[in-house]
Subunit: 497 residues, 2 copies
């Protein structure tokens, strides 16, 4: 069958699709989402079939192609192409197997991930895999296989060092920016820490958003390697490199229903650690009302699962269960969090002590895991490194190596529009909701507007007098500030009682 | 946020989508498949977000819209529209509930189907529902609720008669065209039979394909009502009317993995019967090697499930388990099957006796169910109606009312290219595979080329001499015939031993 190309003048940025007129499709016995191979001379592309119902969209005898397919075939409008039937990929059989409740092995899972990242699977097909993992559950063996397959289908940062340290936080606590404090302490003591972080999905800022206030975080794999070899560590955005890319592909179809099979959550995190060849990993699980994990029992269970997978991957792992009942630090939002961090590293008298304490505890655990400090001496060692200014010096070294923009916290710009929330009564702060703070902060513009966010003047258990400022909302736009204040009035996220 | 419209000049024919430049989407914190509301003056449309990665596809500040959305907003290129965040539909919560293994009630299922047919759910979201039904299973209560919801979200043919008869065959047997024989027998006896049939998906022809050789099958609801009121019955294509449209929407996402939860299969069939207000239904379950149902046990189970649902829907139902071990009749493919049918109705001496016998048995069962005949007398009554020529007369009446094209089987055109397969040995026919016959017949061009198909000169248990013609392949194209013969050589679908 020969058809004439119609350039649709659109890039899909994803699946390879061809649009046939519905009448042609019926004649060819092709169903929606069937696969065909398109040939033009020696070039070919396997695509998924979509229908056009009108002659206007795609007339009979034509085949509508998008940018990616046109490029692959080196074709343009009115070129003639031939189409051929194409078998479904083998990985579809494995997805069916999982739907039927059977366990998949490494090779099968790898085939699924491979086809997913090469766009050989449609979103619908990948959704069946995600749904099957969710409803059927995943065995430990499968979770380990998924982790390995995620690592093996992406780029790897192979540093060839005996100790490569990494950390991860389960999230859900605003302002919890320990990475930029912990990493320089560890690196100053001679450990290698190639830290990749994500941007925020639901919180006021992710580590990558915050670090971007101070330096460049979109480094290539080669640049990361150079920075780590030069200064011992980095703090970059994981999204700029192709570490475990299958994870993102899976997350895209998980998003509409916000479902996440536990096995997939574990694999997703562990794969990022495996991709940077981490040997020693600390996982932070904050627990608290309005945090991601709300009970200690749930946290303990998750910790056990992490440790099991780490054992299979031959990583040393410590899990710390921490207080997630309120935000950490005073600032929330990229610029405000960056200020907190530098204050802690510079030992400023007004540095947030909760952020400092938590960071020292975590650095201490890692010093003991890696044998840098004797049991019980880790925290003290970390304290020495921060007090001496070595940590701050190392931090500046790292951000300079990445391409520093700002090294002085006084030069960080905050949003020019502000609103102070004042207490209506005397009392004590009973609760500060992470979810409410995140919502207000994001409405004010964070993390996209770096200067937007919230500064907390009072924390939980602080005494408050009527008229005291509880927190300040910063925004770069009058409109956003107004909107944030409006919504703030509807949610009771800061309780004085 | 205000954006400028870019007319993408494409109709999606399905989901309402808007394409934003990826950078705009990130800034707006919009993920793939998130929903937004687009407003232009007083008009609005809820759409799902897609990304464009290049400025060429959709530049920043623009919003790419497809035909359906442009029409809804009455918008054109460069018009300004505003976008607003939109909550996810409630039905997503019900899909999540089913994924978590909980039973859904009628209102919840109806909400899902409603959103599915109004394109308020994306394919990915609907896939989660289908996957959940498949992996979690469906209770009888849920299956009945799904059936009712399918009926209630579509058009209904309300004939207001005491007896409305319908039939359905589970399928998988080539040439099994009993409908065009059974329907006129029943109607001639005074029963009302508003029969809608499907086109073929995997077989050489569906009833709608076959009837289309003789008459028009794409009738509107109003036309169907007129025909039934005038002559007592019809034989039309169900796809031309909106009976239980949710079923097709579900089938679209089932197709890539060929999965079908039993509850969905049952609902899908029963909903079509309910939509035409059937009161008496016969279900034909052919059993045999290479048929859709391969064991008697499986057929019995399915029969029980059908009867349970029928009881809830207050329909009388009989299930017949029939021989599906080889094709029925001699012809396979629309034209060849049409010839078989007319020969049976005309009592021709060369009419295929297996098709005649099976049709009489089924008509007999219905006569007994509806009280038209006493127990044990149904078949005889049917035989009388066919032998007297009344059935043939009624058949001609029905096809004339639908807009007959051909009433004389000698005027039916067969494909001009033929190939005779001859036996290589003396012996007895041991097996004729339905799957193999369907494959060869479809490769020869059926059901799209009406004249393509296979004529069986020998059936199972027939004696065969070396050199005897076993079957003839008909095709309308030399190329297709060649291809069919080639593949025939690779599959052993006709066994003489």
């Amino acid at each position: 069958m020969r058809l004439s190309v119609k350039d649709m003048d659109v890039a899909t940025g994803g699946p390879m699709i061809a649009v046939l007129n519905e009448k042609d499709a019926v004649k060819l016995d092709l169903h929606l989402l069937d696969r065909i191979k398109i040939r033009r001379g020696k070039r070919e592309a396997v695509v998924v079939v979509d229908y056009a119902k009108s002659e206007k969209a795609v007339p009979r005898g034509a085949i509508g192609l998008f940018e990616e397919v046109l490029d692959k075939l080196n074709a343009r409008n009115r070129d003639e192409v031939s189409i051929h039937f194409e078998e479904k990929p083998k990985s579809l059989g494995y997805i069916k197997k999982k739907l039927d409740g059977k366990e998949l092995n490494y090779d099968e899972i790898r085939a699924i991930l491979n086809d997913a990242i090469c766009n050989n699977l449609t979103e619908v097909e990948l959704t069946y895999y995600v749904a099957a993992n969710y409803t059927r559950g995943m065995s430990l063996k499968e979770t380990v296989a998924l982790t390995r397959a995620m690592i093996d289908t992406g780029e790897k940062l192979d540093l060839k060092r005996r100790y490569v340290v990494d950390k991860h936080c389960i999230g859900g606590v605003c302002g919890n920016r320990t990475t930029p404090v912990v990493v320089p302490i560890l690196v100053a003591a001679g450990l290698t820490v190639p830290k990749t972080s994500s941007r925020s999905i639901t919180s006021p800022a992710g580590t990558a958003d915050t670090m971007e206030v101070l330096t460049d975080v979109s480094l290539s794999m080669k640049q990361i390697k150079n920075v780590v070899n030069k200064v011992g560590g980095c703090m970059v955005w994981g999204g700029a490199v192709d570490l475990a890319p299958a994870d993102d592909t899976i997350i895209n179809v998980e998003h509409p229903l916000s479902i996440d099979a536990e096995g997939q959550l574990l694999s997703s995190i562990m794969a990022k650690k495996g991709s940077v060849s981490a040997t020693h990993v600390i996982i932070d699980i904050p627990v608290g009302r309005d945090a991601k994990i709300e009970s200690r029992k749930e946290a303990m269970h998750l910790g056990r699962e992490f440790r099991k997978i780490a054992k299979f991957l031959k990583m040393k792992m410590e899990v710390v269960i921490t207080d997630g009942s309120q935000p950490i630090g005073n600032g929330m939002g990229p610029a405000l969090e960056a200020i907190d961090i530098i204050k802690v590293l510079k030992n400023s008298p007004d540095a947030p002590q909760d952020l400092r304490k938590k960071s020292l505890m975590m650095a201490g655990v890692i010093f003991e895991m890696t044998g840098k400090a004797r049991k019980g001496q880790g925290r003290k060692m970390a304290e020495g490194i921060i007090n001496s200014g070595e940590a701050c010096h190392k931090f500046m070294e790292i951000i300079n190596a990445q391409g520093a923009k700002i090294t002085d916290e006084r030069k960080i710009k905050l949003g020019e529009y502000k609103f102070n929330l004042r207490s209506k009564r005397n009392g004590v702060v009973k609760h500060i909701s992470n979810k409410a703070m995140a919502k207000i902060s994001r409405l004010a513009g964070s993390p996209n507007d770096k200067g937007a966010g919230i500064y907390l003047w009072k924390k939980k258990f602080d005494k408050v007098k009527k008229g005291d400022v509880l927190f300040t909302i910063y925004s770069e736009s009058k409109q956003n500030l107004k909107f944030a204040v409006e919504v703030m009035g509807q949610i009771d996220g800061f309780v004085v009682g």
